[in-house]
């Protein structure tokens, strides 16, 4: 059988971002995949060495616009670790609250895109409508819809209290109502099951060997979640990672669906148990020494490392994002699949190219 190689991307309707997959096919079967990245590389790590360390919060936030809050959180925790800053408990709970809202909005966005890739347009629209409620909460509490800039070194910028908290609870209830109507459809619908069940298998052992992270790893049966480390207020709020054993695209969908429920629960819990007190402490001095931090982002483990030398500028900042770790999974999932399934399987790892290439 003759083999044909052709490019999938960088500009492709199913991909919101620029990545190229070079697919080698025998007839309609994919036999080989080569990802080609680099279309969105900016050089954030290098630029971060040139900026004063306080300004890097805003640069790191823009590594990715979807999970921007988690990027800012990781960088802030990293610098707080270097400078031995104790963040007030109220700020920690507020950080959990915004992190979980970011996770919900990211997962809702992904479920919508999956539905769109399947050709299930009405579900795409419903998901994005429900997501707008969460964006309203984010805008109301932080001032911005997608890039919140509410996390700073030493705490957070804004407080949630009194009237605002009441409105937030009402909006979360409103979201829950809409989500409860959508979630059974995502889990049970015939079209979704037919296109995802048994597609893009990532065996349990291989997932661990390749160093896969996040929902992709949890859908292959590993209870691996960085929130178990107990950063911010996760240690006090307590939670169990969502695990599925299916190893296929359907299991990955289920993990994300169940994580929306879990995140909503955590957001309620964080807001209900908000401790009294300050929301930020003053930062004095410059970072010195080395530190590394892991944070669970919607797509998986986000790792950052920094080295400071007692000046306003960092000597080195390293950012490893979850999609960077998850792209090798495509080399296992795609070979053997049919060409028409490539968009859905590619989407099932929730690729975020802006993150990957920084």
């Amino acid at each position: 059988m003759p083999r044909i190689t052709f490019p999938f991307g960088p500009q492709h309707p199913v991909l919101p971002e620029a990545i190229q997959l070079q697919l080698t096919c025998e007839d309609e079967k994919v036999v080989e995949v080569t990802p080609v990245i680099g279309y969105m590389h900016r050089g954030i790590e290098k630029a971060a060495e040139g900026n004063p360390f306080v300004n890097n919060v805003f640069l790191c936030e823009r590594v990715c616009g979807i999970c921007s809050f988690m990027h800012a959180l990781t960088y802030c925790q990293l610098i707080e670790g270097l400078m031995n800053i104790n963040v007030p408990p109220r700020a920690k709970y507020l950080r959990v609250f915004w992190s979980e809202l970011s996770r919900i909005h990211s997962h809702m966005l992904w479920i919508g895109l999956l539905a769109d890739a399947l050709g299930f347009e009405s579900l795409f629209m419903q998901c994005w409508r429900a997501r707008e409620v969460i964006l309203d909460v984010l805008e109301m509490t932080t001032g911005q819809r997608v890039i919140q800039s509410s996390c700073v070194i030493g705490g957070v910028r804004r407080n949630i209290d009194g009237e605002l908290a009441k409105t937030v609870f009402n909006l979360l209830d409103e979201f829950k109502k809409q989500w409860d109507a959508i979630s059974p459809v995502v889990q049970k619908d015939y079209t979704i099951r037919a296109r995802t069940e048994g597609k893009g298998i990532l065996p349990k052992e291989q997932a661990w060997e390749l160093g896969i992270v996040g929902p992709t790893l949890r859908a292959s049966g590993w209870a691996h979640d960085c929130r178990l480390l107990g950063y911010a207020a996760y240690g006090e709020l307590g939670f169990q990672p969502v695990v599925e054993e299916g190893c296929d695209s359907y299991a990955r969908t289920l993990v994300r669906v169940r994580e929306v429920d879990q995140s909503l629960e955590l957001a309620y819990k964080a807001l209900n148990n908000l401790p009294e007190g300050e929301i930020a402490v003053k930062v004095k001095g410059f970072p010195e020494g080395e530190a590394a931090v892991c944070v669970e982002q919607p797509r998986g483990e986000l790792f950052e490392y920094a080295r400071g030398n007692g000046t306003p500028h960092l000597e080195r900042l390293k950012i490893r994002t979850p999609t960077f770790a998850n792209i090798p999974a495509l080399l296992v999932m795609l070979p053997g699949s049919e060409l028409a399934d490539v968009p859905v399987i590619t989407l099932s790892i929730d690729p975020c190219i802006a993150c990957t290439e920084r």
Binding site: R62, G65, R145
Partner: protein, 145 residues
Amino acid sequence: MGLITKSRIKSPWIVHYSCGGCNGCDIEILACLTPLYDVERFGILNMGNPKHADILTVTGPVNHRNYRVLKNLYEQMPDPKVVLAIGACACTGGVFHNCYNVLGGIDKVIPVDVYIPGCAPRPETIIDGVIMALKKLNEKGSKAE
């Protein structure tokens, strides 16, 4: 205004390219297409194909790798066409202005008709920008006729 120009600005088709930004603007453009903002009621459709499109929306700064892709997309679009630079990065390079791989705003590579500021711009701002682009499309179309 001729019939062709009239129908063109009644239902402009968009092709979107994400140059190298952070995604924030991309998801706001997608939000414009979904129920809350729903630009489809004005006949605005998102197309994957540059040869179908009247408006090119670009987010993010151009870098050394993707400026050829952007130029290529622009050249494939039929005249008259307008270009929207969406977000601070597409306008000037924004927060990434001092990154080594970034050339700057997209106007370094292709001519831009409307600049939409903000990081990320709200969907209302984007819709406003598209309406301004339609005026330009009208002028360009009338001149061609």
